[in-house]
């Protein structure tokens, strides 16, 4: 419980710092002006969504293989958080797209594959909820989660494989296309969101365990 409180405190402090660096300490962009600041909310949401579904993928494989309920509690929690952060990535992307691209939404490969990801894991949660037998629901959700994870590399490389409106990654091995003060703001924001995610994941997993009637 102590560790949980410490994690929460760290998340609050890091988020406060990230708000400061994102909104005040970092410079505007040469082309986008102040709109670039939306990136500091958009990219971490997408990054944490990837992380969440990676955890869902690993724990789902382990659950199907070992059948230990503990893996399912983590898989369920990570799926819920992944859907939340994917939704936030879509919303912040839309808010960023409106002033910069001139449109809230368009049928670009990056956007569509991300919306598909949201639907796949929403579907996994739905299938789990619809099943009368919780264990059967958990197994079905795990299978959807494992297959659905294929979409994550597709999203990531969509901007490379396909000709898209969405720009490619600014941070890639051997190429850094973002100025240092902006990189600092982005990394700090990524770290803050990751710690927040860790806090929420632990809390939700504990809740799932309690709900299942298992003693802590």
């Amino acid at each position: 419980m102590k560790a949980q409180t410490a994690l929460g405190a760290a998340a609050v402090l890091l988020l406060a710092t990230a708000v400061y660096t994102s909104l005040l300490a970092s410079p505007p962009d040469a082309f986008q002006g102040e709109y670039v600041r939306i990136m500091y909310a958009h990219v971490p949401n997408a990054g944490v969504a990837y992380l969440a579904f990676a955890i869902t993928f690993v724990t789902s494989v382990l659950y199907v293989w070992k059948r230990r309920p503990d893996y399912d509690y983590i898989a369920l929690s990570a799926t819920e958080l992944g859907v939340l952060f994917t939704g936030l990535a879509l919303v912040t992307g839309s808010i960023w797209g409106r002033p910069v691209w001139g449109t809230w939404w368009t049928w670009d490969a990056r956007l569509v594959t991300t919306a598909v990801l949201f639907l796949i894991y929403s579907g996994a949660l739905l299938v789990r909820g619809l099943s009368d037998d919780p264990q059967r629901g958990a197994r079905l959700a795990a299978v959807i989660a494992i297959i659905g994870f294929l979409d994550v590399p597709v999203i990531h490389y969509s901007v490379v494989w396909f000709r898209t409106l969405h720009q490619p990654a600014s941070i890639a091995p051997g190429s850094l296309k973002i100025a240092p003060p902006m990189l600092v703001a982005l990394m700090l924001s990524l770290l803050a969101f990751t710690v927040l995610f860790a806090y929420l994941l632990r809390l939700r997993t504990r809740l799932a365990r309690l709900e299942a009637g298992v003693e802590l």
């Binding site: 410079p27 505007p28 962009d29 040469a30 082309f31 986008q32 670039v36 990136m39 002033p99 910069v100 691209w101 001139g102 449109t103 368009t106 049928w107 670009d108 490969a109 299978v143 494992i146 297959i147 294929l150 597709v154 969509s158 494989w161 396909f162 000709r163 898209t164 409106l165 720009q167 490619p168 990654a169 600014s170 296309k177 973002i178 100025a179 003060p181 902006m182």
Partner: protein
């Protein structure tokens, strides 16, 4: 036995997805066509709904004072297509930057745009102070 069937089904579905994504869609998901591609279609491109993307040629942007039409030229470095648009472009629409227009190519070779979307690069830097 049930588990083997489940794994088998999962592998088949996963395989089909990979095949679709890598084989079928890879060349097909193209958000916009370049000026060269549109011009290569010749007369068949005329009147067909198209998304055309390229760089806005510096110095090509002008507004007709009488019709209030916005005119500019899009290029991919090899070919150019003149574009006409009625209305206000997005705030960040700039010469020398990327733009994607939706509309149709007219018989006179001018692309009549219904909408303009600005495409920006993945480079982020503070403005250079003079």
């Amino acid at each position: 036995m049930k588990r083997t069937r489940l794994i088998l089904a999962a592998v088949i579905v996963a395989g089909a997805l990979v095949y679709l994504i890598l084989g079928g869609l890879r060349g097909a998901i193209v958000y916009y066509a370049t000026p060269s591609e549109v011009l290569a279609q010749g007369q068949s491109a005329v009147g067909r709904a198209t998304r055309l993307g390229g760089q806005v040629v510096p110095g090509s942007r002008r507004r007709d004072p009488i019709t209030l039409e916005l005119r500019f030229v899009l290029t991919d470095g090899k070919a150019t297509v003149p574009v006409v648009y009625r209305g206000a472009p997005p705030e960040l629409f700039t010469e020398g930057q990327g733009a994607i227009v939706e509309g149709t190519l007219r018989a006179d070779g001018v692309f009549a745009a219904r909408s303009i979307i600005v495409k920006h690069s993945e480079e982020y830097a503070p403005p250079k102070t003079p």
